[in-house]
């Protein structure tokens, strides 16, 4: 499997994960602000295992959630990328786009900048017919990025996340879709 290892944008470098990312990524995953709309912040072991799972997705699919590094400073900002949706829902099988950015780097437009390139990788290089994104209904920040990217909410495909218990405030999820702009039939 030929993997996509590096994508450069104006201010960011999206790349495969390295050992030295583990500590700063664990800090990001332990930040309650970053993890407000997840079940809970992650322990160091959980964060490390997340990186292992991401790298596994790269090996199997050629793409995954890239580590996002700030150009110049080399600081790890978080992740942005693509992954096959790992649970069953009305919209699966599907490939999702996702992002997670350190809270001290919010408000700079890093998530949309990285995500725009990732969408182009998905549509123009991987030739995916569609990319989806989902988040807890109450996660307005993430929904704003989805809308900024031009993704459209599919109200009928809203769902309860199977990994969260019934009654959990984050269980109810919204689904956003984007169809490929590439017209495969000329």
């Amino acid at each position: 499997m030929k993997t996509i290892d590096r994508i450069e944008t104006q201010r960011l470098i999206l790349r495969r994960w390295r050992e030295e990312d583990r500590a700063p990524f664990a800090d990001i995953n332990a930040d309650p602000k970053v993890m407000e709309y997840f079940k809970s912040p992650l322990t160091r072991a959980e964060s490390d295992s997340f990186i292992d799972r991401i790298e596994n997705v790269f090996e199997q699919n050629g793409y995954g959630f890239w580590a996002v590094e700030e150009r110049g400073s080399g600081k790890l900002l978080g992740l942005t990328g693509l992954a096959p949706v790992m649970f069953q829902a009305s919209f699966t099988p599907a490939v999702e786009i996702g992002w997670r950015i350190a809270s001290d780097s919010w408000g700079k437009g890093y998530a949309p900048e990285a995500a725009r390139m990732v969408l182009d990788v998905g549509f123009h290089r991987l030739r995916l017919p569609e990319i989806v994104a989902f988040t807890a209904v109450i996660n307005k920040n993430s929904r704003r990025v989805m809308e900024k990217l031009g993704m459209t909410q599919d109200v009928a495909a809203g769902f309860d996340h199977p990994n969260l218990p019934e009654g959990h405030m984050l269980r109810s999820h919204v689904l956003y879709r984007m169809k490929s702009p590439v017209n495969h039939v000329m």
Binding site: E8, T9, D120
Partner: protein, 201 residues
């Protein structure tokens, strides 16, 4: 297609609304003499529209990518915000086994000599190699086209040959240079230049 941004430029996918700017900046002998003789000359009144009619379907099909270059300093200024040049990437047509990826560009005369094209090409090459995953480009220019050669040299292309080019250019140049640009060489040039790809300064 995502817009590309550099220190001084914004590159957006070309649209029909750019026809007027193309008509203004493109049909000048100093520009077209270095371009393929497939460009109609004298340039007809509807030349820009014909160009867009021909290539926008290829853009929609994901085969070609065409960026219009705009100056950031002019964004939002209704009198001056317009396309001042184009970078055209032609991806290999899957239906044509002989087809190879290539890239061409032009810049309005009054904006030449300021490093804009090198800046634009760093950004576009990043997209071609990083996002589209193209392994290698073969790019050509009339031997006399020094400006184009300089852009290629700065962005990692390697001269692999000179060949006769009678009839290939509007300017009827006798020879053309053939350059190879691999993803690896481009990335090396990008790193060495300390350029930021899409944020080249």
């Amino acid at each position: 297609m995502a817009a590309l941004e550099t220190a001084r430029l914004v590159l957006r996918s070309i649209a029909r609304t750019d026809a007027q700017a193309i008509r203004k900046h493109f049909p000048h002998w100093e520009i077209v003499k270095y371009l393929t003789s497939a460009v109609p000359w004298p340039y007809p009144d509807d030349g820009a529209e014909k160009y867009l009619d021909t290539f926008l379907p290829k853009v929609a099909a994901g085969i070609d990518h065409i960026w219009g270059i705009r100056l950031k300093a002019h964004l939002g200024d209704t009198l001056r915000d317009e396309v001042i040049g184009i970078v055209h990437f032609h991806g290999a047509d899957p239906a044509d086994p002989e087809d190879v990826p290539t890239r061409g560009f032009w810049l309005a005369r009054e904006h030449q000599g300021k490093g804009y094209m090198t800046e634009a090409v760093f950004a576009v090459n990043s997209y071609i190699f990083d996002v589209l995953g193209v392994p290698r480009l073969v790019i050509k220019n009339a031997r006399d086209n020094i400006g184009s050669r300089r852009v290629k040299e700065k962005t990692g292309a390697v001269l692999i040959g000179v060949e006769p080019s009678a009839g290939k250019y509007l300017g009827d140049y006798a020879e053309q240079e053939v350059w190879e640009l691999t993803a690896e060489n481009f990335r090396r040039a990008r790193d060495a230049a300390g350029k930021t790809g899409q944020g080249a300064t």
